[in-house]
Amino acid sequence: MSDIAISVRNVSKEYVIAAVSHDTLRDRIVHACRSLLGRNATGNVAPHAFHALNDVSFDVTEGEVLGIIGHNGAGKSTLLKILSRITEPSAGEVDLYGRVTSLLEVGTGFHAELTGRENVYLNAAMLGMRKVDIDRRFDEIVEFSGTQQFIDTPVKRYSSGMYVRLAFSVAAHLDPEILIVDEVLSVGDGAFQKKCLGKMDEVRRDGRTVILVSHDLPVVASLCQRAILLRQGNVVGDGRPQQIIEQYMSEAFSSNETSLADRTDRYTKGELMVQAITFLDEKLNAVQPAISGQHLVIRVYYHCHVRTVFKDMRVMIVVNRDERAACILSTDLVDRKPLDLAGSGYVDFHVPHLPLCGGRYFLHAAIENNVVTQDWVQYAAELQVLDGDYYGTGRIYPHDGWRGKGMFVDHSWRMERTS
């Protein structure tokens, strides 16, 4: 059997939230004076502790790729910071077996005034690489980043894409035995991302141990062999990624979770937001689950938090299944007339024959125009679909093995004999 690479035992982290937000010398002196005078410092609430992590334990074996998922504030970043030795645990122990590199950010310590070459050395040294190793791998790093021509130019003259590519390239060539990564995959353009994922896969196939924290569930599903779900500082799930992602999703939609309007894990300008998403039938009665082939209305409620008319917007829904987009509905795709949003209201998407087959779907929602994204919420709603007779032929799918696979497409056929 393989050896343990990372052992986390009963790790807790508490932050003392000071009642006074700014701990300045003046506060201290004032406080000390008041205490000396025997007067209680008025207006001070006793500081209270906040538990970012609660008795977290798990082991990671050598060569395992572990994904850590959870909502914002679940303790993912704190756990990562403890594993990376940036902050200390309040209690508990962690043992790491092997050379560790942690990437909480690409390009940490890059200095705008220095050239690409100088930054490679500086950044790699910061991440724990020795100079001889940097010398040895330098050409490889530069080649991978594709910035050969500009390597002796100060990085302040780089495009942001080049900057990120060079930074990631250093990270990709660190050669650690244990790699701890935080969402760094979501950088660069499509082609470079593909390259990075390839590199991650290579790292995995080389038998390195990887801990990956990500919001990108498809990446977790495809790269990891195991996933851990954190909720309010506790490990609430540990197992196969598919199963843990399911658990995460169902938690996201359980009734006691915050409503869509109150969710903070979204990319938003805070001015115009998606409030809620509901599913209706053609008579505008609520439906859940929906049925394949039937008329479905997806109602997206919006609310403007400012007194402006948002001109020429589009409302978009991405329907996902198994962590992949199945289809996209967007107001500007089907209609050229401008959509102006103000106050609050809703947009109804009418799908006359629901082409989705039975299963669970998750909807991402966006309100944006070509310039700015006003609001973008992933996993904004869950849609349950039951298999229905889409084609009206009494047959649902050709074979049981096709249950829940693909989409329905209107089609017809004609046979013609040519000889």
Binding site: D23, E88, E93, R99, E118, Y121, G401
Partner: protein
């Protein structure tokens, strides 16, 4: 072909995780730190290359896009020297212990500029590098260490200028020049000792950032940079010598200019204070280091 069969092949097999005991020693152990003297200076040594890179970065960035570049390291003390000679020697008629005043001032400015630079840059270094502290691990001591060492490069440049100056005034150093490095080390330690306290306090109390400029100004007048120690009344000498810069400046003048040797009463308190401040600074630094990422 059935889709389920296709997928069954591509799903990676999950290895069974058994929390077995290993006989290997962990390469990294993370524990809540306790106690005062968990210094772990070995890890600082492991990251010595990073220290060199950071010193090099600071120096490089400082003189980049400056027309005369590192020439500033020479010009600054040279201009100060001319200014001081005009004001303190020509106008104020301050004595200079028998040495030509320009040389006297320059020899004092060498260590003083270094200590002042090192203190002000290193004292605010941790907050200045807060993005590093919250994103990557390396021994935090490296940061103030590098910031305090970078001005040593300036010191070396300025030192070169000392040669033509001494030739001009027809002075040659004696055997004492061999002891010169010792005083450089004391200067470095003095700057570090003060900066360790400042930088660690600065993380929590941003007031320190405002205090440092005043402190440095005050410190200069409390040190024999523009005037000789002989100006200080005898009865105050012992107290005066508690300022580590006194010993350092005297040492520089003695080893470079062959001025009369500083008395043991001047040097010894300086060294003791420096060591005391330095050791307590390191201990304090290591004690609060663990919370840097949380409060910065």
């Amino acid at each position: 072909m059935n889709m389920n069969e296709l997928e069954a092949k591509s799903i990676p097999q999950v290895p069974v995780v058994i929390a077995g005991q290993t006989n290997r020693r962990p390469s990294v152990q993370i524990r809540p730190s306790r106690g005062m003297f968990h210094l772990d200076l070995r890890s600082v040594w492991q990251y010595r290359e990073l220290l060199v890179f950071l010193v090099w970065r600071d120096t490089k960035v400082r003189y980049k896009q400056a027309v005369i570049g590192a020439g500033w390291a020479v010009f600054q003390p040279l201009i100060s020297m001319l200014l001081f000679t005009a004001i303190f020697s020509y106008l104020a008629k301050l004595p200079s212990d028998g040495v030509p005043y320009p040389l006297f001032a320059y020899a004092g400015l060498l260590p003083w500029n270094f200590i002042a630079q090192a203190t002000s840059r290193s004292g605010t270094s941790l907050v200045g590098e807060s993005h590093l502290i919250s994103k990557v691990y390396f021994p935090r001591l490296i940061i103030p260490l590098a910031a305090a060492s970078a001005p040593a490069v300036d010191l070396l440049c300025a030192l070169v200028m000392m040669i033509p100056l001494m030739l001009w005034f027809g002075m040659t150093p004696g055997w004492q020049i061999l002891l010169f490095p010792i005083f450089v080390i004391i200067a470095l330690l003095a700057a570090l000792a003060v900066s360790l306290w400042f930088s660690a306090l600065h993380v929590k109390f941003r007031d320190v950032g405002h205090i440092i400029p005043f402190f440095v100004q005050f410190w200069m007048f409390a040190s024999p940079v523009v005037y000789p120690v002989s100006l200080i009344p005898e009865k105050w000498r012992a107290l005066y010598s508690l300022n580590p810069v006194v010993g350092v400046v005297e040492g520089f003048r003695w080893t470079l200019l062959g001025q009369r040797a500083p008395s043991v009463e001047t040097i010894l308190p300086s060294i003791c204070i420096v060591l005391l401040l330095f050791v307590s600074g390191v201990v304090y630094f290591k004690r609060v280091e663990r919370t840097f990422a949380d409060v910065i």
